[in-house]
Symmetry: C2
Subunit: 678 residues, 2 copies
């Protein structure tokens, strides 16, 4: 721990002393052991093995000392290959004879040859079918890729099978775009350009994806709905289920993923053979609790998923092992008689890989309680997706906390001995928007924080060790969702000493500790104000590429800028009052903390974003244009993006105006929540 002298002086005894003890308790060696233990078998959602792991974690968290650890189950729609009828793709000749078939499984990595129940690569929730037809290459399958094909190259995808390379956008969006373009089948493949770093060997010699490896994954378009058959409600015994035809986000055409060796073979005419089945299946979350000493009705949640496509060496177990060590350390302190001020909830989610189902169903079941009592959600999927520097995605409310905390944590990086994590992070990835600060990203989706942040408006954040994005441009780490995600790839290549894992434990655990135990919540509304101002200028600048229409349709951003100004003033005034609060008056502290807790909630519009009822955050939404980012002012952004494709320009611009108005109102209302309460 690196603490400046002034911070030491300001330390409030118990809190800082216990934080030190909490951090000192966590060990890299433990995380390593947990990772090893969690990755011996596949833990596919809905399987016995994953239920057994849930039960093991439940038992261990109880032993660690949590007050209560429960399994919560839901019966959700999952999708599995048919063991008797494997999925594959054939090349067919002019007579329809199959002259080549893609592989039915990935060659197992050394040591895992005899492991049973490895699910072969497949696209979960693919439709069944045996379409055959001409193959069209559609690049990444983005909107702009199909535009280019159709408008510039005159290539029509109707009735074709399209082959799409993974990357840039979420695979579910690729499939949706292909469906809209009229395709009757989709082949997803991992291109070496995206999934192999030059000069690096394929696994097991290096950490690149072997040619026989393929990326599993679901191809849904849930937009935050959770279980496709019970949108908006938890998938419990009493819940009404739609039939699959009315389900949310299910693709209507067959989809299958292949590796680059098979992709190289594919010729003009192919036949897909897809026999996967959708099946309502029981899943299990593990929910552990330490009751807060003073405000047991205020919750700080640390959650990450447990289910994996195969061994989950990185995704998710490098995260789950860190959560395990954080729970152990909290439990240790609790056994010694300490409790955090607020309640801490630890969650091991199931079926994240099938559409964030475990977390979403739990949040649906507990929505009222979470909206009333949820202080913050910290996400804990993969701890390492690279070994270069820290990566943080979080609400602007947490910027200050993240910066403060990372200044207290030693950097694990070579060449930064004696320096803080903040220093190495800043040097390796400085912000382009804020001078003299490390980069923090917007929250998008693709992980279990989604329902908490995008639907419920609970302040959220996530932390990982990541790669150098400026140099390594591939779309995720190469072996992502393949059989080669093993314990060994982490132990050999990603983090041999587990020092980066420990750093992530310190960051995630430190965030939880500060959020749960600080008297005044460590949120800064002024940083939200600065972010809003930044986003308002960005969206305004985007509009300026349509200057004549902006003028013709009287589009004005003035109300939005005015609202941001009001918000900024309210935030400054709020923190002025917060400085003066009488800490010995519990109701006054609670009242201000409630304003802080509920600020993120103020950005939720109950009516949701257009056509996306479960994405309700007006400032942030998952981007359908970029897998790796959230969008800011998504309502306005989408309305402006849609202008290109709309025949009725007047109507399209009216929608832009409507969205600006909603954003202005929301920011204005959020400012209102920060004002004096009476």
């Amino acid at each position: 721990w690196i603490a400046k002298p002034t911070e030491k002086v300001m330390a409030t005894g118990s809190h800082d002393r216990m934080k030190k003890a909490f951090v000192a308790e966590m060990k890299a060696e433990n995380i390593k052991k947990f990772l090893y233990n969690f990755t011996r078998l596949p833990h596919l959602a809905g399987t016995d093995e994953n239920l057994h792991l849930a039960q093991q974690i439940q038992t261990q968290w109880e032993i660690f000392g949590l007050d209560l650890v429960q399994l919560t189950h839901y019966d959700v729609l999952l999708s599995y290959p048919d063991k008797a009828n494997p999925n594959y793709i054939s090349i067919i000749d002019e007579r329809g004879n199959e002259i080549f078939n893609t592989s039915l499984f990935e060659p197992p990595p050394p040591g895992y040859e005899t492991v049973r129940n490895v699910v072969p690569p497949y696209s979960a929730f693919s439709a069944q079918g045996l379409p055959e037809g001409e193959l069209v290459y559609v690049n990444y399958g983005r909107t702009e890729d199909f535009f280019k094909l159709e408008r510039e190259m005159g290539i029509n995808c109707t009735g074709k099978i399209v082959i799409v390379r993974y990357g840039k956008i979420f695979r579910g969006n690729k499939v949706k775009n292909a469906e809209l373009a009229g395709a009757k089948g989709v082949i997803l493949y991992s291109d070496p350009a995206d999934y192999c770093t030059p000069g690096v060997d394929p696994y097991p010699k290096g950490w690149n994806l072997p040619g026989g490896g393929a990326q599993r994954g679901n191809v849904l378009n849930l937009n935050g709905a959770g279980d496709p058959l019970t949108p908006g409600y938890p998938a419990k015994e009493y819940t009404y289920r739609y039939d699959e035809a009315s389900g949310v986000g299910l693709p209507k055409i067959p989809v299958h993923p292949i590796g680059y060796h098979d992709a190289d073979e594919l010729l003009r005419k192919v036949r897909m053979h897809i026999y996967s089945n959708n099946k309502v299946t029981r899943i299990y979350n593990v929910i552990g609790t330490i009751k807060g000493a003073m405000e047991s009705d205020r919750y700080v949640i640390l959650g990450g998923h447990r289910d994996s496509w195969v061994f989950g060496g990185i995704d998710p177990q490098s995260g789950a092992a860190v959560v395990h060590e954080i729970v152990r350390s909290f439990g240790k302190l609790k056994k010694e008689g300490w409790r955090p001020r607020r309640t801490v909830i630890f969650a091991s989610w199931d079926a994240e890989e099938f559409g964030l189902l475990g977390s979403t169903e739990w949040a649906e079941e507990n929505a009222k309680i979470l909206q009333a009592r949820g202080v913050a959600y910290i996400n804990a999927d993969s701890s390492v997706e690279g070994n270069y520097t820290l990566r943080i995605d979080c609400t602007p409310l947490m910027y200050g906390l993240v910066y403060k905390l990372t200044k207290e944590i030693p950097s694990p990086d070579e060449g930064f001995e004696g320096k803080s994590l903040y220093e190495s992070w800043y040097e390796k990835n400085p912000s382009t928007e804020y001078k003299d600060l490390p980069r923090i990203n917007k929250l998008g989706s693709g992980n279990d924080f989604e329902v908490f942040f995008q639907r419920l408006g609970i302040a959220s954040g996530r932390a990982r060790y990541s790669r150098n994005w400026k140099v390594e441009k591939y779309s995720s780490y190469p072996v992502y969702h393949s059989i080669y995600e093993t314990y060994e790839i982490v132990e050999k290549f990603y983090d041999p000493t587990f020092k980066n894992h420990l750093t992530i434990a310190q960051v995630r655990g430190g965030l939880v500790f500060e959020l749960a135990d600080s008297v005044v919540l460590p949120f800064d509304c002024r940083d939200y104000a600065a972010a809003l101002s930044n986003y308002a200028h960005i969206i305004y600048n985007l509009s300026q590429s349509h200057q004549s229409e902006v003028s013709k349709y009287s589009v004005t951003f003035d109300p939005l800028f005015s609202a941001v100004k009001n918000f900024t003033e309210a935030a400054i005034d709020f923190h002025r009052r917060l400085q003066q609060v009488d800490i010995s008056n519990p109701i006054d502290v609670r009242s201000l903390n409630d304003q802080l807790m509920l600020l993120e909630r103020a950005f939720i519009d109950p009516l949701g974003l257009p056509g996306r009822p479960f994405y309700r955050h007006i400032i942030f939404a998952p981007s359908s244009h970029n897998k790796y980012a959230g969008e800011s002012f998504p309502g306005i952004y989408d309305a402006m993006f849609d202008i290109k494709s709309k025949a009725d320009q007047h109507k399209a611009w009216e929608e832009v105006k409507r969205q600006i108005s909603i954003a202005a109102f929301t920011v204005q209302a959020a400012a209102g929540t920060l004002k004096r309460v009476a």
Copy 2:
């Protein structure tokens, strides 16, 4: 005040002493003076006169001693007759000559002959037009009336002008039903059978409706949307406005109201002349605040409207005068150094008559704050609609409080000298559902509590002096919304000594006082449990008239009954814990109070009722089948009601099952909010 010895012993000094002082301060004579003052001129929403009254009230509330009194304005769609082109209806002969015209105004009552700016009877938001055609009498214009006409009598309304008598359902629903039946115009009239009590003279000799009087009123179908052009958002300067074609709830055909003298004349063929205009108009609420001493971020709201169709002798000024006296009494106590524990907000709403617009826009603007901090809303429209006994509509959470309070208030009724209000109320209107208790009604709509209760889930209640419903079966008091609603009709017939007004001031004021100043919120969740159980049995029994379908489609109410049972157990356990709370621990008290405050919120489904996004309470909704009642389990009820009209019975019953599931989930989740917080 009637207090039992034990209650005196239990009195917590200050609270009970101040309550006594608060009640003693209120005088019938003051209410009378305020009513006189408020009824000198018409105060139609959007007029200068109504702005002036807002300013007067603002000034007086400031003088009374409130901390802050502000005008809040909104620019909403209103509707007025065209002064140059009056609306009327003609009888036309076979050649199209107009041989009779309905009257253009009501004969003014004595003393008001020279008052200017009396708006003639009209149906606000009627479409413009001059339809002519055959006249069809459609009774009350209910769904069953049109069914009967079309199915049993073979009368088709397409292309006809329908004449409908007022009563039974909201006039907007009559117009919607007529539109759906294909009518091209609607004439509304007051039938003596509904608006004249036998043996009573028309005003001014008695309180019956004169033959030249007619009932004004809006004919919207807003379903809680507020301003038709800005549904879901406050109608502020920055708000995007839909065009009228996309507005919510606007009728597409001309509508006009007439009295029974004109109705008697109408013959087979008529022509309507409707020139009313819709116009975006500024309206003003008056919002006054007394800041709470301990929990200034908890709000108890007393609100009632100020705008009237003409003089508003009963509606709304008999209510506004009572609010004025309550404000004066609170202000008096405050000037002496006292403050309630929580913040009290007093509201004088504008444009209630045009669709609850003032209250709804204000609640839309402040939704986040109200959801987070709103403890209760007490509605204050007309204090007297009769002089027989008390009428209460409220959330089950308030049953106990209402019973306790009415036992402390002396009965104003003849023959009940020395007895409590509770006793006369119970004797005159006992509950049929709960033995040994007076009747309390469900909250429906038609008044300003709607947005607070049905959209936001804030515990709400209303109190009036009412007629004997068993004897007087007319649909509202006879002169309702006519020019004959004067100060004098109240002073001569309804409440000459203003003792009933004072009683209502004691009830409304007493509710506000107890809600704002009790350490533990005076809500009882066990009464909600009993109500839920009652409603579940009622809806189950309704289903039993379709026993074969219930069996065929496997409809089961078991999950609902099970959820109600869980809720009941949680409520009992909650109140057991509440008994044991350490009153000296402010956080523990606050935490339990938060559970009480948020219980009503737990019944809100963010997805809303089917097709009614702004009615979101799963237990209660305004009934479209009965103007004077709320519906319980409206989702299930509507789905069962719709079965008759659905061709696809399988689908119709699936919807019933879905609605039972949503109700079961909601009750179950509400039970969850009452459990131990960690």
